[in-house]
Amino acid sequence: MNKNPEITRRDFLKLASKAVLTAAGLLGLGGLFRFLDTQTEPSPQTDFDLGLPAKYPLGSRTVLADVPALLVHSLGGFSALSLVCTHLGCTVESQVDGFACPCHGSRFDLKGNVSRGPAGKPLNSLKTAITSDGNLHLYTS
């Protein structure tokens, strides 16, 4: 019996082929998984979880920059106004007496009605609701 077996050229070639094939297979599988896992760009978010309603005390007007929207808590409950200008879609800025579009100068009063063009339509009202988890949600569509 050979106590110090030397690897034969045939075995080496077999082993090397298997190793290379395994590496190529793993690389190929990785590429395949990456391909199958590719995500298309996600659709724009339309449901925003604003957390507990208590974060927004009565009388507050909170600008939600990532929506963008203005959340108003009045005696009538929660309401929200889109801060997307109805002219071309720029984000309007909240001011003391209403909203101003920095792009083309449209102005809106505190209720979102147009007070100066070129915008022709009022700012959109957005739906709010308190869901079963107790959180306040805002919906942009």
């Binding site: 045939r10 070639l13 077999k14 090397a16 082929s17 290379v20 094939l21 590496a23 190529a24 690389l27 190929g28 590429g31 760009e41 724009p44 997307v84 002219h87 071309l88 879609g89 720029c90 984000t91 920095p102 792009c103 083309h104 100068g105 102005r107 007070s115 100066r116 063009g117 070129p118």
Partner: protein, 418 residues
């Protein structure tokens, strides 16, 4: 032999996969942007995130890049991404401007909404060059009068109130008159579709960007040389140096039918503004061209004209009045007054309801002026922000004949010596 072949094939497969992985690594991770106006994702910011926003009126989050520039929005290879861009780096070139800057919400709306910019600009005398062409045709006996018949491109304005409803395309190759032919070869470098002449002082883009994209420093003493790829800006704050990429750079010689560039190269404003032979007043060189010449004068009013004299109407009395009349003014009582919109785009003044501004004879707002409480007037430079107080002629020692408003007449007493 079979073993060697198997090993070689396995190695080739592995190397091919490694090459693909390496090639993938070369591409940057895409940076997505979904502009509000299009709602379609685009990857332009992957490479262009360092590009300055073109103007406050065109925020990238709202407009993105593709709406104006076109191109392949999802391509990460520069050549592919840029392969279908409109107008190369200049989507405002008149050959593509309608597709780039048009739509009724943007710049091809109605006169009533002050958004018919493309219709006005493409029919303006600076675009059609109809005045220069008509002058040459008349001078060399090709047409019987100075009425424009030809333009750089054919254009129709069926309802034109100027009496000219259409221009045919001027084609120098078809001209038999040698002077007109030479004019076509040597003198068509300064209309809005023409590529500029070689030389940094002539450097400008075409189309809207010829005026609204600053390729010239406002200060000739600046050593900064702008490269076209670095300029991503649209503005109504237009320095005289931008206007001078075409104007005041030399003269057309009717004997040789060539353009003769001015030879002096001054870097100070007083000597640079106008050619050495020109006569002018203080306000003509201290202000910028756009401080007096209105949007209608520069960009036209949508009608076709035979000469710039038919569209330019600002006179000294527009701001200074005459001995018997104060300049026309208008209190700003309507929040939709055009003056507010123009002032918003170039906020060198903070106009408010109740302010009184000067207006032209055609009721165009000179929105960068105001009437001060003590009865004198003030103009703020649109390009410099500099404040210029000025007084009316009425009550002054001026002995003018108020009906003569030619520049030569006023220059008799008020020209600047340099």
């Amino acid at each position: 032999m079979r073993r060697y072949f198997l090993l070689a094939a396995s190695l080739a497969l592995l190397l091919a996969l490694l090459f693909v992985a390496w090639y993938e690594k070369l591409h940057p991770k895409p940076v997505p942007l979904t502009p509000t106006l299009t709602g379609q994702v685009e990857y332009c910011l992957t490479c262009h995130s360092d590009l300055a926003q073109i103007s406050n009126s065109h925020p990238v989050q709202t407009f993105g890049c593709v709406l104006c520039h076109s191109g392949e929005p999802l391509a990460l290879d520069a050549n592919l991404a840029h392969s279908t861009m409109r107008g190369g780096s200049n989507p405002s070139d008149f050959s593509v401007v309608q597709a780039s800057c048009g739509s009724d919400k943007c710049h091809s709306g109605t006169p009533e909404s002050y958004s018919n910019h493309i219709q006005r600009a493409t029919t303006s005398i600076q675009a059609t060059y109809a005045g220069a062409i008509a002058n040459i045709m008349f001078t060399f006996g090709v047409q019987p009068d100075l009425t424009a018949r030809l333009g750089i491109f054919s254009v129709q304005v069926p309802g034109s109130t100027s009496g000219i409803t259409a221009l045919a395309a001027f084609d120098p190759a078809q001209e038999t008159n040698p002077y007109v032919k030479a004019f076509g070869q040597n003198c068509l470098t300064c209309h809005l579709s023409a590529q500029p002449m070689p030389g940094s002082v002539y450097f400008r883009f075409t189309g809207c960007a010829a005026c609204h994209t600053p390729t010239q420093s406002a200060d000739r003493t600046s050593t900064q040389q702008l490269q076209s790829s670095q300029i991503h800006k649209l503005t109504t704050s237009i320095s005289y140096t931008q206007c001078d990429t075409c104007h005041n750079r030399g003269n057309y010689d009717l004997r040789s039918i060539t353009f003769t560039p001015r030879q002096d190269l001054p870097i100070d404003r007083l000597h640079d503004y106008y050619q050495p032979i020109a006569q002018f007043t203080s306000c003509e060189w201290m202000l910028d061209c756009v401080d007096c010449h209105t949007r209608t004068e520069a960009m036209g009013d949508g009608n076709l004209y035979s000469s710039k004299l038919d569209i330019q109407y600002i006179q000294c009395k527009t701001c200074h009045g005459t001995l018997t009349e104060l300049p026309q003014t208008r209190p700003l009582t309507d929040p939709n007054d055009l003056a507010f919109r123009l002032a918003l785009i170039n906020p060198v003044v903070d106009l408010k309801l109740g302010d009184t501004i000067l207006v032209t004879g055609k009721n165009e707002p000179l929105w960068n002026t105001c009437v001060l409480p003590d009865g004198i007037y003030q103009l703020v430079g649109k390009a410099t922000g500099e404040v210029f107080p000025f007084k009316p002629v009425m009550g002054s020692a001026c002995t003018q004949n108020g009906t003569d408003q030619t520049s030569a007449y006023c220059h008799t007493c008020h020209s600047v010596t340099r």
